[in-house]
């Protein structure tokens, strides 16, 4: 093992020696630079590996042959080694990224880069306060030098602002250091920490020291200078500035906190959280990509600073959490800056250029997921552990603010991703070359590898090391294959997984599993219509299914949450594929993440920091916390089921998705929320808060959703939106059923799980087929398609009969159970809404079938063909199932009924033969079917007997008001179909919820716009901000310490 000092020696030595190579041999100089950086990287990586595997112990390196505190010493432990590896590798890649500039400038530039990397490494290793100062100054000077590499003349201004602030930092730092030395008689960090301090003024000295280091982190609001650098510097350098310098600066704060003492931690937390939230808010209004990344960097550093401030409660998890966040940040930010080097335009929507290259999209998605902290990346694990620790320590406000910040960060990052995927690609395009792509992909690989490592650490559940996730990865590899082959593989994978696991599930899980896994496979049949390669579809879809599969497998909170997030990510990418879905996918993502954070908080509250916490221990939560856990989890789950108030993401997301995606996200994905609610209520049962029974609240929300969803649905002109609102209504029913908290209520909800999957999938596929042929989703532009698309018509017909609950199809079973269920329940008022929702639902369903298939056929549609056969196949399977399920509901429900009975300890339904009886009524599906069929057939036969020779006439052959209509359009009564209804009840359509969320968004954006005016571009103002920050924190801190 070579000594880590060599990192410094090699860096410096090479920098000095470059002058010997002669100014004309630039390539040689560049080669030497690369070699030196590679050697430095190699040393750090070797140490990292050795330390992690236990082959080496933390190294204490003494210089000058004396022991500390009398000589400067260095240390390399695991944290240091990891940071060193990050720093040196970033440096190596940065040299590659900057190669053109470096070769142009020659020796000087290369030397500066080498010294910068050397200095950052030194900063990471050193244990001496004044040495810290020297390295910081070296970094500052080198930064000021490298900023000049940019071709942007504004970089000069940025560099100068940076130097001005650097001077102020230096002054504060020196004064702080010398007084700390005076108080402690030592400059060695460990020595200071070990010695108790009694001297007056030591706290103030420590304050100056800390605040100077904190300003190095570019905390809000003392960070205008740094943002200018991010905006104008060469991105190859910005990557170093953000990833390497930022991480090292954090590490220094962390080092100094030990001698400073725990009383400074709250201050750091406060600064960090403020910086995190405020930077992210300001970033909302940013449209320059690099400045946006700058704000994001500042925010991320603030987040880690807050984590440093929480080290007292994190205990052993501290390194894991902080490290996860830092490394995620470093890798992702470096990667994004490198990508920014390839994108020619500077506006966010110029990133649409990357769309042409699928690997770039993958890279972009990876980096964003890392920043937001989504699985399987380290930030996700870190976020989880952080939440657990914070809740265990009762620091809920900190957690709430951090989650808020993450949410805002997700907002602009995913909005940006949406731009990249959906906006028109700019002409300027991309200047991709092998080297830039190579280093970007090195970052991508590093990101996934870190995800694996973070999961593989003992005591953690490795999200990536599960069969479904491996399958997802496999589908990345399959991407070059044609879509049809991948589709076979996907269906095979789903069915294979199902056969593997279904034996272990209890009946209720089994129902969910059938709907989610083989149910997904049935919908995938429709994907056979797609030709080409369909890049991006299968990894996303399989990620969603993997999430669902893991959700069912989950036994602990963590597994459940991880699965939940995976499912969300996958479905987000799926939804984003739709033509017009950009804003809707974003709002889907944000609501989902918001809901997920509610879950995170709820789980953390429930477990009280104990890990792993089994799902079925949820019932053991103490009586004081249980209602709160209930509230948080319900919010999380209801976001997924799109309960009224949290629903505004759904219509757009479901309606704008692709033809075969809509049924997946509607028919299948919504059930995840129900699954969660089932799990929660099974364990928690009824809970009351302030005397209010929370299940009653849920029932009300369910009823309101059922009613308003239906009302909104009837006013839609867009067929898919109509179906989407209908889903809100249907999920409202299910929610109501669950919230009844009795046997039949739950059975009702289970019935909805099955039925809604079947008929909503079927209807979405049918409408999708129509859309494929007519190229419109507006129903009033269709009409009369029954003769052209008979199969589609049949499936819609069966679908709406089933959905409206008209006997004999399976929807009626749901209604019957519903009536029996409410007989037991004490709830009466919300029932009014439910009662009304039923007929209202009939309205929109009729409209759907009428305006599309009946009425007059439009001229442009006369030549249409039936929908593609692969769209029809799953529909026909569903039709067959609906009829079968209508006759024999017992095949699915009887076992579940028994299982629910084992939960509630009762058995209200009696299954005798094929008839079902309850305490109140009875239901014989076979008899119903037979009677209706016999009557129908008899009447039909009579009609045929009389009218078999009826003359077929054109549909258009009609007369009204004694006139022949002129064009079919004029006689298709379809637009604003329920005009009287709108007149009477149109006020229910008022977009109250949308306005509310719109207000929240506008408020945030307004705050962002207002706040960013603060960055007026004047270097002196920035310097004054720094002073203002120092003084403000000083006043606060002294108030706190005194």
């Amino acid at each position: 093992m070579v000594s880590p000092v060599l990192i410094i020696a090699i860096g410096l030595g090479t920098a000095f020696a470059l002058g010997l190579l002669g100014s004309s041999r630039k390539t040689l100089q560049f080669g030497a630079t690369l070699t030196a950086l590679a050697a430095m990287s190699a040393i750090s990586v070797i140490w990292l590996v050795a330390l992690v595997t236990g082959a080496a112990q933390t190294a204490e390196i003494h210089t000058a042959g004396a022991v500390p505190p009398f000589a400067i010493n260095l240390r390399v432990g695991i944290a240091e080694a990891a940071l060193l590896a990050t720093v040196t590798l970033t440096g190596l890649f940065a040299a590659l990224s900057l190669r053109a500039q470096l070769l142009k400038l020659g020796r000087g530039g290369m030397a500066v880069l080498l010294v910068l990397i050397m200095a950052i490494s030194g900063l990471v290793m050193t244990r001496d306060l004044f040495n810290v100062f020297v390295f910081i100054e070296l970094i500052a000077i080198a930064t000021a030098g490298l900023v000049l590499l940019s071709e942007d003349p504004r970089a000069v201004c940025a560099g100068f602002k940076f130097l001005v602030v650097g001077q102020i930092i230096a002054i504060l730092l020196l004064v702080g250091i010398i007084f700390t030395y005076h108080a402690n008689g030592s400059l060695n960090i460990d020595d200071i920490a070990a010695t108790p301090v009694g001297v007056q003024g030591a706290a103030l000295a420590m304050f100056l020291l800390l605040i100077a280091l904190v300003i190095e982190l570019k905390t809000f609001p003392a960070n205008g200078w740094a943002l200018d650098i991010y905006t104008s510097a060469h991105p190859g350098f910005s990557a170093v500035f953000s990833a390497a310098t930022g991480s090292a600066a954090l590490f220094i704060v962390d080092k100094v906190v030990a001698p400073a003492g725990a009383e400074w931690l709250p201050l750091l937390t406060g600064i960090g959280v403020l910086s995190f939230v405020a930077s992210n808010v300001v970033a909302l209004r940013q449209d320059n990509d690099r400045r946006l990344l700058g704000y994001s960097s500042v925010g991320q550093l603030g987040l880690v600073l807050a984590v440093i401030g929480q080290r007292d409660v994190l205990g052993e998890a501290y390194l894991y959490v902080a490290g996860g966040l830092i490394l995620s940040h470093a890798v992702a930010k470096a990667g994004l800056f490198w990508m920014s080097a390839m994108v020619r335009g500077r506006n966010l929507d110029d990133w649409a250029a990357i769309r042409a290259r699928a690997p770039m999209v993958l890279a972009f998605a990876t980096f964003i997921a890392m920043l937001v902290g989504l699985p399987p990346f380290p930030g996700f694990y870190a976020k989880w552990d952080l939440a657990q620790a914070l809740v265990a320590a009762g620091r809920l406000p900190v957690l709430a603010l951090i989650l808020l910040g993450v949410l805002i960060e997700a907002a602009y990052l995913f909005r940006w991703f949406g731009f990249a995927i959906k906006r028109e690609a700019p002409e300027k395009g991309l200047s991709a070359n092998m080297v830039d792509c190579g280093i970007t992909f090195a970052a991508v690989i590093a990101g996934w590898a870190l995800g694996w490592i973070w999961g593989a650490i003992p005591g953690q559940h490795n999200v990536l090391a599960t069969l479904p996730m491996l399958a997802v990865l496999a589908f990345f590899a399959l991407e070059p294959l044609p879509a049809k082959i991948k589709n076979v593989a996907a269906i095979g994978a789903l069915l294979g997984w199902f056969t593997l696991v279904f034996g272990d599930y209890d009946p209720m899980r089994l129902i969910f599993a059938v709907v989610m896994i083989p149910g997904g496979a049935v919908i995938l049949l429709a994907s056979f219509t797609e030709t080409g390669r369909r890049i991006g579809f299968y990894p996303s879809a399989m990620a969603m299914y993997a999430g669902l599969a893991l959700l069912l497998e989950a036994t602990t909170f963590f597994e459940f949450f991880a699965a939940w997030e995976i499912m969300t990510i996958g479905s987000y990418f799926l939804i984003l594929r739709g033509k017009m879905s950009e804003p809707h996918a974003l709002s889907y993502m944000l609501f989902s993440l918001g809901g997920a954070f509610a879950l995170l908080a709820g789980f953390a509250l429930a477990s009280g920091g104990i890990q792993p916490f089994a799902l079925n221990q949820l019932g053991t939560v103490g009586a004081e916390l249980a209602p709160w856990v209930f509230v948080l989890l319900s919010i999380g789950f209801m976001t997924k089921t799109a309960a009224m108030g949290l629903h505004i993401w759904l219509p757009g997301a479901h309606a704008e998705a692709e033809t075969d995606v809509s049924p997946m996200v509607s028919g299948i994905l919504l059930k995840a929320g129900l699954f969660g609610l089932f799990l929660m209520l099974m364990e928690l049962g009824r809970q009351s808060l302030w005397g209010v029974d929370l299940t009653v609240v849920l029932a009300w929300i369910g009823a309101i959703s059922a009613f308003l969803g239906a009302v909104l649905s009837i006013f839609q002109e867009d067929a898919k939106r109509l179906l989407a609102y209908s889903s809100i209504s249907q999920m409202g029913y299910a929610l109501f059923g669950i919230a009844l908290m009795n046997h039949l209520g739950w059975l009702l909800a289970m019935m909805f799980v099955i039925n809604h999957y079947v008929y909503k999938s079927m209807l979405f596929l049918a409408v999708g087929g129509v859309y494929k042929r007519t190229h419109t989703k507006l129903m009033y532009q269709m009409g009369g398609l029954i003769t052209l698309m008979p199969f589609t018509f049949v499936s819609v017909l069966v679908g709406i009969i089933a959905m409206s609950g008209v006997p004999p199809l399976s929807g009626f079973g749901g209604r019957w159970i519903f009536y029996n269920a409410i007989m037991d329940a004490g709830l009466r008022l919300p029932l009014i809404l439910i009662f009304m929702a039923g007929p209202v639902g009939f309205l929109y369903l009729f409209r759907l079938i009428h305006t599309i298939f009946l009425g007059q056929l439009k001229d442009p549609h006369r030549q249409l063909k039936e929908a593609p056969v692969w769209l029809l196949v799953p529909q026909m399977i569903f039709v067959a199932f609906l009829i079968g399920f209508a006759v024999l509901p017992g095949m699915a429900l009887q076992k579940v009924d028994g299982y629910i009975g084992s939960i509630f300890g009762d058995q209200p339904l009696v299954w005798s033969g094929r008839a079902i009886a309850s305490e109140f009524g009875y239901w014989n599906p076979v008899a119903i079917m037979v009677v209706i069929a016999v009557i129908f057939v008899s009447v039909f036969l009579i009609l045929i007997a009389k009218n078999h020779d009826a003359q077929k006439v054109k549909q258009f052959n009609i007369v009204f008001s004694a006139e022949r209509p002129y064009r079919p359009e004029t006689t298709h009564f379809a637009w604003n179909f329920f005009a009287p209804y709108r007149k009477a009840l149109g006020f229910l359509e008022a977009p109250v919820v949308t306005s509310f969320w719109g207000g929240v968004t506008d408020g945030l954006n307004g705050t962002a716009e207002f706040t960013r005016r603060f960055y007026n571009g004047n270097g002196q103002s920035y310097a004054a901000h720094v002073l203002l920050f120092v003084v403000a924190v000083y006043l606060i801190a002294m108030g706190g310490v005194a």
């Binding site: 030098g145 201004c157 100068f160 130097l163 002054i171 020196l174 030395y181 209004r285």
Partner: protein
């Protein structure tokens, strides 16, 4: 003695900062920073000063055995030496920047260099 030097150093720092924050001329800002840096150096040295002792050089006047009782703290001096040199480096760099900025806009007024903002 050290109180006097300390106060003097702090006043120089504040004066320097005041100058740097109120003078819009870039060169004057740099001048102000050199004043502030000098102030910092004075503070550093003042902190290492022990009344009634001599410079930390062992010669005939200060034999090794008595050194600990006779000399003042050498550490701050060592630090100041470093700080002075670093200060010069930064000043030189800022001057070079000032020249670049001047070439960019033919102005030395800091408020003319604000196109990067928000």
């Amino acid at each position: 003695m050290s109180q006097i030097a300390l106060t003097c150093g702090f006043i120089l720092i504040l004066a320097g900062l005041y100058g740097a924050l109120t003078n819009r001329d870039i060169l004057r800002m740099i001048v102000a920073f050199t004043v502030a840096n000098t102030g910092v150096n004075i503070v550093l040295v003042a902190v290492g000063y022990l009344p009634g002792r001599t410079a930390p050089i062992l010669d005939s006047a200060v034999p090794v055995a008595e050194a600990a009782q006779r000399i003042i703290d050498p550490v701050p001096q060592a630090l100041v030496l470093t700080a002075i040199v670093i200060g010069l480096g930064i000043t030189a760099l800022m001057l070079a920047y000032a020249y670049r900025l001047f070439r960019l806009r033919h102005s030395l007024d800091i408020s003319n260099f604000t196109e990067l903002k928000w």
